[in-house]
Symmetry: C2
């Protein structure tokens, strides 16, 4: 495994050169977070579809258990059980617009991952960096377990476990565990654990910070990159469910889904599940004894148990929904944790928004009204007084402080931005598919995907490394 050790040393040096001035040393993490033999156990795989240009280039890397879709280049990196999802990569000739200025793409966009270390990370490419729309860049980045890099250029970034960076471009930043950032262009910033920060172009800014001590119960990481807490226990207890899938060359398809729906062969469906028309269950999603109404989706790393989705409901990457009923068109944000203790213990009314990184964890029933937004740490119905408001009230607001949340700016623009995004997600996922070409989305385009498998060297100095390869263009 000399080559793999050399690679880890290389990545450590590149990260530390760029991030040590920000107070972080990744050496013990890269040394200890993944036992070496794990790099041999899992194969990497990529999807072939007629809708995504086939173009991969992998060099000097270890890719254990990682999934690729769309044009990707990986060099000098360790990816471990990560999802590199390039299904919204822009194409040559596409016109993009930033603040009213248009420009055309010269090449098909590529995801370029260099000198990076991603563990169980979800990368989604819908990128918003004006610097070079042809490249979605992940450079000198360490992303820990269940973090999300969502449309965000990362150049020298450390993401703690369950952290999310969304529609941003970040240069030399440290993002604490379970922090959520969607704040444009950031350079040399440390974002505290459990901060939820949404800022847009001087138009509005939303801030919430988890009260001190709360997060420890859910997620904490020691200096060697080992995790503890309920989030970790939840996924750890269910990891065996994925073994049969990843041990099979061609996993059994799920039968009985609705028309136009897609259930990834790399998703777990347990017990009695119903999947409606145009619904989407992505790879690495885990669904148990639940009803999925038409056009609903469960994105990567979601866990859904004993729950009912009435339809057009969105579970963003990494959200966990247990004993919950969602009315029509509810949005559950990234890595949220809706932990009902018995059936329909939590209900969310139609058209409501569960903000990213929200924890609802109560011994009594919780009912979120329709057309509302909820955020933060909800432990009883009374908490909603400071952690929930109607979208109408939000639309009329300018400055608000409620508990640990502050909002400044144009409330209507904030609500409109969310609504627009929800529509984008539903359209992009094919929730509105009616048989016409322009309503096709991920659910339909991925239908006929087939999966190719890559394996690492099993012995010698290259053990754990993958052969360099160019696939497609």
């Amino acid at each position: 495994m000399e080559k793999l050790e050399e690679l880890l040393t290389h990545i450590t040096s590149r990260i530390n050169i760029n991030l040590k001035p920000m107070g972080i040393d990744v050496e013990p993490i890269l040394k200890n977070a993944i036992p070496r033999e794990r790099h041999l156990l899992y194969y990497a795989f990529y999807a072939l579809t007629t809708d995504h240009p086939l173009s991969f280039r992998f060099t000097n890397s270890s890719l254990g258990g990682t999934y690729f879709l769309g044009k990707t280049l990986v060099d000098r990196s360790v990816l471990y059980k990560s999802d590199i999802r390039g299904d919204e990569l822009k194409r040559k000739g596409d016109v993009v617009e930033f603040d009213g200025i248009k420009t055309k793409l010269f090449y098909n966009e590529v995801i370029r991952i260099i000198n990076s270390y991603l563990v169980k990370t979800l990368v989604h490419n819908y990128s918003h960096n004006p610097e070079i729309p042809e490249v979605f860049k992940i450079l000198n980045t360490v992303a820990m377990h269940y973090s999300n890099i969502h449309g965000t250029t990362t150049e020298g970034v450390f993401l703690g476990p369950f952290a999310t960076v969304d529609f941003s471009y970040m240069h030399n930043c440290v993002v604490g565990e379970y922090a959520y950032v969607q704040a444009g262009d950031l350079s040399r910033q440390v974002i505290e654990p459990g901060r939820v920060w949404i800022r847009y172009n001087g138009l509005f800014e939303f801030n919430y910070i988890y009260p001190e001590g709360v997060l420890k119960k859910y997620i904490s990481m020691d200096e060697n990159g080992s995790l503890s807490g309920e989030f970790f226990d939840h996924v750890d207890e269910r990891k065996e469910d994925f073994l049969p899938i990843y041990s099979s060359i061609s996993p059994e398809p799920f039968e009985g889904k609705g028309d136009g729906a897609y259930v990834s062969p790399y998703a777990v469906l347990k017990g009695n599940c119903t999947i409606g028309d145009n619904a989407l269950v992505a790879q690495r999603a885990h669904v148990e004894d639940s009803v999925f109404g038409n056009g609903s989706n469960a994105q990567e790393n979601c866990y859904i148990m004993n729950s009912v989705y009435e339809g057009l409901d969105i579970t963003a990457h990494g959200a966990k929904v247990i004993n919950t009923r969602l009315g029509n068109k509810v949005f559950v944000g990234f890595n949220s944790f809706l932990h009902g203790k018995k059936p329909e213990h939590i209900t969310v009314g139609r058209n409501s928004i569960v903000m990213p990184h929200t924890i609802i964890d109560s011994d009594e029933p919780i009912a979120i009204p329709e057309n509302s937004m909820v955020w933060g740490h909800v432990t009883c119905q009374a908490d909603l007084a400071t952690q929930c408001m109607t979208l109408d009230a939000m639309s009329a607001a300018t400055d608000i402080t409620m508990g640990n949340m502050t909002f400044k700016g144009d409330g209507k623009a904030f609500v409109d931005a969310f609504r627009e995004r929800i529509e984008h997600i539903l359209e992009a996922n094919g929730a509105y598919y009616n048989g016409t070409e322009n309503t096709r989305g991920h659910a339909q385009k991925t239908q006929d995907a087939c999966f190719n498998i890559l394996q690492p060297f099993q012995s010698g100095p290259e053990q754990g490394m993958y052969p360099s390869m160019t696939i497609g263009d």
Copy 2:
């Protein structure tokens, strides 16, 4: 010329997307600064030597009159009479160190110029960006006449005429005309015209700003990118001297230089010139009736007239030295203008430093003492009271304000950094060459360079564009 127009539109959109928020619109400049037919007149050329890996890739670009040495990639860019000098590119396996952390290069370093517009720009590659030591990047950058990009990553940068960025990494910055910046990592800053700013790692900071109204006499640019002022007049009056050289496939070599010296066939030597041993006269340097002592150099875009260099004297890129005597080991910084009115009207004592972007322009004789530093705008000997000090005094200083100059921090570290740099330049240029391999520098390594020539399409939609090509690896 449709393709060239399309390319200009493309570059305009990429620059404006990134820099309009910084208050700049490059559209009229890119439309008007270079008359279209000029793009056809000059050929691009590259040097072949056994000391520099041959590796060029040019795509979708116009390269008129531009010189390349060392591994370079140019895509979707307009380079006009620029020098892309890759003679200090790092090599695969080299170990670089940043703040005590070491890392090894995985590949030969490459200069990568994308979506950029460089006019008469000197690019020198001795780069100091920790982000990815294998790539020296110039992206979404407009650099106007006689600007210097010296070891500086530029991502979304506008450089005014005669501006210099030196050993920095800049993201979305605007640098005014004749400003000099050597200040580490900068993001979203506007640097005023005529500011000289040197800052290092919290150790020291030097600032000088030209008094209001002074610069107009020397350099000014209108909104269409047209220049006026004495700097411009000086170079414009001498441009015809370069015509015979650039009209010849193989210009006449200069005879009578000392041992180990190099005089580029693309330099102008007029009148009676003496070039000592191990001296270096770079391409696009202009030397007239001057004596060059051993180990002295005239870098690109320098103009030296009726002057005497006693030896080991350095004229950094773009400096102009007229009727001046330099004692031993004098450093004349970038784009400085030493304008003596009759022979030896200006004298600079040995071991002195003329700071970058200094103007000495007086009707009376000016004598800079030995072991001193001089900066700013000197119009008479009395001005030295606020614009010159001994290096010993500087070494002992912490906080100083003198006229428009302020200095904060460790004066000794500042002086040491300059001395170290001067030694680096002399060594790198081969000024100390004694016949041994490890004393060889640019003067010796470039001796046997031969030059290949590239021409643009002369008609049709591609007129003014260069064919895409890969040369070497």
